[in-house]
Symmetry: C2
Subunit: 283 residues, 2 copies
């Protein structure tokens, strides 16, 4: 079984697909840990939002994630505005990133095309509120492998949550190809088995449910030095295990190079044309 998750922006369509290529969801528009962006969002200034959207799109992001969640930011007001601003400058589909359901509803109203909703969890309260919005809008949704008991330590329990999310989506009339599962990655510094569990979960979710998968690409290295080295090694491992998309920073040249190498090695780059072209143009 192999499914295609089709997302649409303003004139651009992107498919997440096990047949590749790997889909990069640009993660930069997120005020967590970015003081300058947080300050602008509090003031309602959208200039960095526009700049980040453009720069990431030029750097090869297929989808642009938009999160405005920060202290003192009114998400319900700000998220729909940010989504509109991004759609005004890039053609790429948007990933609406919020855990605030009213902000999500407002952002979905403001967003053109066929966005990706990031995210629903395995918690009953989340499934009951988010899935009707996704169904109503006819878009796709990221399902996080977390429920009322937290993030399971083992991969089989994460698979169980993924099954529950796919099942609940089906009950709401959302097709399996419109659910993208995030198996979640914990920091390897605090749990030695963390990467292995995520790799196993990617493989078993793919084998059992056939759905596409995504991942925040930088949690794994939290608390360690040389995070870029750890992140790029883990990215290659995850792609080999079956991961079909990830939230990444495409402005990081090492991430762009690793994604190009992964596409080449997975057989997703005919005649190595993309790889050679990017290598020649200095990435």
């Amino acid at each position: 079984m192999r499914v295609r998750t089709v997302l649409e922006g303003v004139g651009q369509s992107v498919a997440i697909d096990a047949g590749g290529p790997f889909v990069v969801i640009g993660e930069r528009i997120n005020p967590s840990g970015r003081e300058s962006l947080a300050r602008q969002l509090v003031r309602g200034d959208m200039s960095l939002v526009r700049e980040d959207a453009l720069a990431q799109s030029k750097a090869g992001a297929h989808v642009i994630d938009v999160s405005v969640s920060a202290l003192d930011v009114d998400e319900e007001q700000t998220l729909p505005r940010a989504v509109k601003e991004v759609a005004g400058v890039v053609g790429a589909p948007i990933c609406i990133d919020t855990s605030n359901h009213r902000a999500l509803a407002a952002a979905l109203d403001a967003c053109p095309g066929r966005p990706l909703v990031n995210s629903v969890t395995g918690e009953k309260a989340s499934l009951e509120v988010v899935l009707p919005l996704v169904k109503d809008r006819g878009c796709a949704v990221v399902g996080l492998c977390i429920d009322e008991r937290g993030i399971p330590k083992d991969s089989s329990s994460r698979l169980e949550i993924a099954k529950r999310i796919v099942g609940a989506a089906d009950e709401h009339g959302i097709a399996v190809e419109d659910v993208v599962i995030d198996p979640l990655a914990m920091a390897v510094a605090s749990d030695q088995q963390a990467a292995l569990v995520t790799l196993e979960a990617i493989g078993s979710i793919r084998a059992n449910l056939g759905v596409n998968t995504t991942l925040g690409g930088s949690n794994m290295s939290f608390g360690l030095p040389e995070r870029e080295l750890i992140n790029r090694s883990f990215l290659a491992m995850c792609v080999a295990a079956g991961l079909t998309s990830a939230l990444l920073n495409p402005l990081d040249v090492e991430i762009r190079r690793t994604v190009a190498a992964c596409n080449l090695l997975m057989g997703w780059d005919e005649y190595a044309m993309q790889f050679l072209q990017r290598s020649r143009s200095g990435w």
Copy 2:
């Protein structure tokens, strides 16, 4: 099933084991593409052989591969001498790398400890000559997934050859833990599916035979630019797929960094102690 391939040098013992850590077989002592080493070997000068052994051992190689195969080099004379020289300067086990059976026999006589023979193939003629030497010496052997018909394009045929090698070894009284299978890696530039086939073969050989695996780490990138980027990405993919050792150049800092990241991510580096220590000491 999980097996341990135990190799011994002069006072040092190394186990290749799916429980990690990843075993680095230093590939530098090989005159192919190294003019200076080839010229020395023709003259019988062993100074680069000694230098390379020492440098690789200091750089973290667990096993030292020794190949002297080059035009105008008398392997039968030179290989035993080179093996003795290496054993004279490092405690690491030796990987005797030759397709010349008389040179192999002579090198085995000269080699202390419990070496790794690199290699036997799935060809009848190779199995019949190499396996008795391995059994007689009581050491371990690398089995290449190639036979009379060449290197199969698909992973299931490579698994079949691996099965045949393990079966023939068993008939000769060689235990399954003393066979390390090399699934082989072709250049992705000439076959878009090459990496994928190798990754599949690593997984299926591990799942079906439980044996340890090794790989020449740099063939994959042949004919392409930025080989180091492709090699390190492929290495991470292979480790995630179950590869337990590889022939690598430990003098390349990016290879050392990638191996350390892989050990960390596979849960083979308790409390990230190795990673932190190497990072602090500048690798």
